[in-house]
Amino acid sequence: MVSRLNDVGGMHGFGPIAHSVDEPPFHAEWEARVFALNRVLMLRGVYNLDEFRDAVERIDPARYLGMSYYERWLTAIEALLAQRATIV
């Protein structure tokens, strides 16, 4: 099973680099909430940064490629919390 599609250094085929200007820090409120929620969960010790990165990297590859950046974060957080069904 293919995984770890995050490791893209040197790869070809991702197209031109988009040149956005005057971009807000987040494109939607839900993105900002995901960002802050992730921070709080790591601060609380629910998971650490590498556990989070690992969860992002292990998203089903076919879906990973079609997801926006913060959708990947949200999907990873959902999966991490599901795996920790009992939080003590």
């Binding site: 490791d7 893209v8 939607a28 839900w30 802050a36 292990r58 950046y69 959708e71 959902e78 919390l81």
Partner: protein, 234 residues
């Protein structure tokens, strides 16, 4: 803070990770997340927060407070101030290059509101140009500079800048001469980089505030030069 004791499972029940906890070919949970709108994402976030609130882990209020504190304390203007001071004070610049975490405290900048990271500044000169990337994810000094631009997070940037940095810089309008060494810094661990761009011509009588206004977020990444008219990029 109270230790949460209730159990929690997100209502989405998302189990879409590959790897040892899911045997190959086991099928899986097939929400049609791919075609969701912002409203659907909002519902998923709401569901997570509701569950976590019930479990005593966090609350909407805490999430909002965390976000507001972050946005208030982190932004490109922090980096611009560091650069401006470094341009005016060679000893300060030397301290920034030797130990950026300690030096930025002189400007009242403090990263302790966020996760601990080791900052490192890299200096552009007449002979060296630096550019920052995280090929593996999107590591960036967010506690200092705020969120990174979308293009920094993009597969296109992350894949190309380690392979053809000069071509990428030309596309950004920041062409670098053949007599200038190009140094790419791939943030693979817990160091976070920012660039000290070169001071623009025509700024000899600028004060620190005017100099800081020359430094865009892109200049701190290394994909733009500092400029008297930095424009609206970044």
């Amino acid at each position: 803070m109270p230790k949460p004791t209730a159990s929690f499972t997100p209502s989405c029940g998302n189990r879409t990770l590959s790897g040892s906890d899911r045997p190959a070919g086991s099928g899986g949970h097939e929400h049609e997340h791919a075609s969701e709108s912002g409203a659907a994402f909002t519902r998923r976030v709401d569901a997570l927060v509701a569950g976590l609130t019930h479990a005593g882990v966090t609350s909407d209020r805490e999430i909002t407070a965390t976000l507001e504190a972050f946005l208030a304390g982190a932004g490109p203007s922090n980096g611009a101030r560091i650069v401006a001071r470094a341009w005016l004070d060679a000893d300060f610049k030397a301290r920034v290059l030797a130990d950026a975490n300690a030096a930025i405290a002189e400007l009242g900048l403090d990263l302790s509101h966020w996760a601990p990271v080791t900052l490192r500044a890299v200096e552009n000169t007449a002979r060296v140009h630096n550019v920052i990337v995280c090929t593996l994810c999107s590591c960036y000094p967010i506690a200092l500079l705020g969120p990174s631009p979308s293009r920094y997070k993009s597969e296109a940037y992350r894949s190309r800048v380690v392979r053809e940095p000069r071509a990428v810089l030309r596309e950004f309008g920041c062409a670098v001469g053949d007599d200038v060494q190009l140094r790419v810094w791939d943030s693979t661990a817990e160091l976070r980089y920012f660039v000290l761009p070169r001071r623009p011509q025509g700024t000899a009588d600028f004060d620190e505030t005017q100099l800081a206004a020359c430094v865009s977020r892109d200049a701190l990444i290394g994909v733009a030069a500092a400029s008297i008219t930095p424009g609206s990029s970044g």
